[in-house]
């Protein structure tokens, strides 16, 4: 195809959108509605998962060591444990810190009652490591490992919390994938249907072009350009609305409802759009492109 023919066809693609206003409007509206719903659900899902992950990151395993071990020995074991891949971070709490924390919690306002233990730390053998995991579902394997480490006396874990969170995370991921897959399926069906109808009503125009001697690519090009443009516009509109709404909503909640913002961190809008933007544009443009190409194929055999 010569360059002037290419530019002519691109121009015709733009003009076709204006020439077929109703079809263009219907296609763009269908696409925008589908992508808006997809984006909305994705944004909610991503935040929900982030909340669960947040909760997970607070689940810890506590490791106590055998009586009489020195702090240096315990820290040496700690270095060995730190190599495990399941571990996100670990904190060492010495026997003195453990006693200080205990006092703050249980002797607040009655500090004189603790004076009797001034020289005899009752938690002398309670130096510990508090270990946070990358993924709570790995708690079992880590605990099994820790229980086998020489010098470890006891391992505390919250099995129910970890299991609940892990199950919840799996379920929410499954639901999110399922709903998004259904939404993408419905979007492909609705959008390609609109594109198909829009092209089918112009089958006479296509047959005229073919009878005059137009090659398949010459007939196809403006329709494909039109499909891509509809895809671009149909995805850009809902994305812009979602970006604005998300940004405003998060700012509003963070300033007006500080309690909520202390309980959870919203995923930043740019993080959400890092995935949502390419997926939506590829979906819109891809369906516009493929829909118009496949539909035209049926009408080109003139």
């Amino acid at each position: 195809m010569k360059f002037r023919t290419f530019t002519y066809n691109v121009g015709q693609g733009f003009k076709n959108i204006a020439r077929n206003k109703m079809f263009s409007f219907a296609s763009i509206a269908t696409m925008a509605a589908c992508i808006f719903l997809l984006g909305l659900f994705y944004s909610i899902g991503v935040n929900f998962q982030s909340m669960v992950k947040d909760a997970e990151s607070n689940v810890a395993v506590t490791v106590f060591f055998q009586d009489g071990m020195s702090e240096d020995d315990i820290k040496a074991i700690g270095q060995e444990i730190a190599n495990r891949p399941e571990i996100a971070k670990m904190e060492f709490v010495s026997a003195d810190e453990a006693w200080e924390n205990f006092k703050k919690e249980y002797f607040a306002g009655k500090e004189d009652l603790a004076e009797g233990f001034a020289t005899d730390n009752p938690l002398a053998n309670d130096a510990k490591y508090v270990i946070y995991l990358n993924d709570v579902s790995e708690q079992d394997s880590l605990v099994k490992y820790l229980e086998g480490v020489n010098g470890v006396r006891e391992v505390h874990r919250s099995e129910i919390t970890a299991k609940t969170l892990s199950d919840f995370n799996n379920l929410s991921t499954f639901i999110m994938i399922a709903v998004i897959a259904i939404l993408i399926g419905v979007s492909i069906f609705l959008i390609s249907n609109t594109v198909t109808v829009g092209i089918s009503v112009r089958k006479d125009e296509i047959s005229i072009m073919k009878l005059i001697g137009a090659k398949d690519n010459f007939v196809r090009a403006p329709f494909v350009v039109e499909g891509i443009l509809i895809g671009l516009i149909g995805s850009a509109i809902p994305l812009a609305i979602l970006y604005f709404l998300y940004y405003r909503l998060v700012s509003y909640v963070q300033t007006k409802y500080k309690v909520i913002s202390t309980m959870m961190d919203f995923v930043p809008v740019n993080t959400v759009f890092r995935v949502l933007l390419p997926v939506s544009v590829i979906l819109g443009v891809g369906i516009g492109f493929l829909g118009s190409r496949l539909t035209l194929k049926r009408h080109l055999n003139v």
Binding site: R4, K210, L211, I212, G213, A214, K215, D216, N301, V302
Partner: protein
């Protein structure tokens, strides 16, 4: 120029359109193909455009056996044949100028050539002043003249017209026929399918009569 040898066409549903048709149209001839509705006249035009393939027989147009033309080559083949239909088949959303220019754009003609040829063709069919009108703003006769201009702008050797006056009143029908006659006099081979016997009789050209898919009369050599 056009040769059909023992050509038959049966549609998929088993409907027989033409049976064992043989004819030869020489360069520069003006030929009418006449017959009642459903006699197979339009099937012949579709076969000549390679819109349909024959069930049996051989068709040669411009020296090429149509069975040897692949799907990819069909557009190139059609560019040497002008075609005019009863329902004009103009692009409804493009003006007169763009409808005629479209035939040049499909052959990727340079802009300069388009700017030179389109006004010339529109002058020839008497529509130079209406180049900006949309098809729906024109009368039937005017729309058919635009279709003729589009069919001829690539200077084809053959012009096929399928019931070109079928949607026109008598006055417009005669104007179109005179135009086709002028085009023929300039050297283009013209084949007109029609059932308007008044015009056919008055034009005194070669007439091939078809009935139930077979040629029953051909006055070749009598005109």
């Amino acid at each position: 120029m056009i040769r059909l040898e023992h050509v038959s066409k049966t549609y998929e549903a088993g409907v027989v359109a033409i049976t064992d048709v043989s004819l030869h149209i020489k360069p520069g001839e003006f030929v009418f193909i006449v017959g009642a509705s459903g006699s197979g006249k339009s099937t012949i035009i579709k076969l000549l455009l390679k819109e349909l393939a024959p069930t049996h027989g051989t068709i040669t147009v411009n020296g090429r056996d149509l069975s040897s033309i692949s799907h990819k080559q069909v557009p190139i083949f059609r560019r040497n044949i002008g075609v005019v239909f009863q329902d004009f088949r103009l692009l409804p959303d493009r003006n007169v100028y763009e409808n005629v220019a479209f035939a040049l754009r499909v052959v990727e003609a340079p802009k300069k050539e388009i700017k030179r040829k389109v006004p010339l063709m529109l002058s020839m069919v008497g529509l130079a002043a209406k180049y900006r009108s949309l098809p729906k703003q024109l009368s039937g006769g005017e729309q058919q003249r635009v279709a003729i201009a589009r069919a001829l702008v690539n200077e084809p050797k053959i012009l096929l017209a399928d019931e070109p006056t079928g949607n026109l009143d008598n006055k417009n029908a005669w104007e179109i026929m005179r135009l086709l006659d002028e085009i023929n006099k300039k050297g283009t081979t013209v084949v007109v399918v029609t059932h308007n016997m008044d015009i056919v009789k008055a034009m005194k050209k070669r007439v091939i009569t078809i009935k139930k898919g077979s040629i029953i009369d051909d006055n070749e050599g009598e005109v």
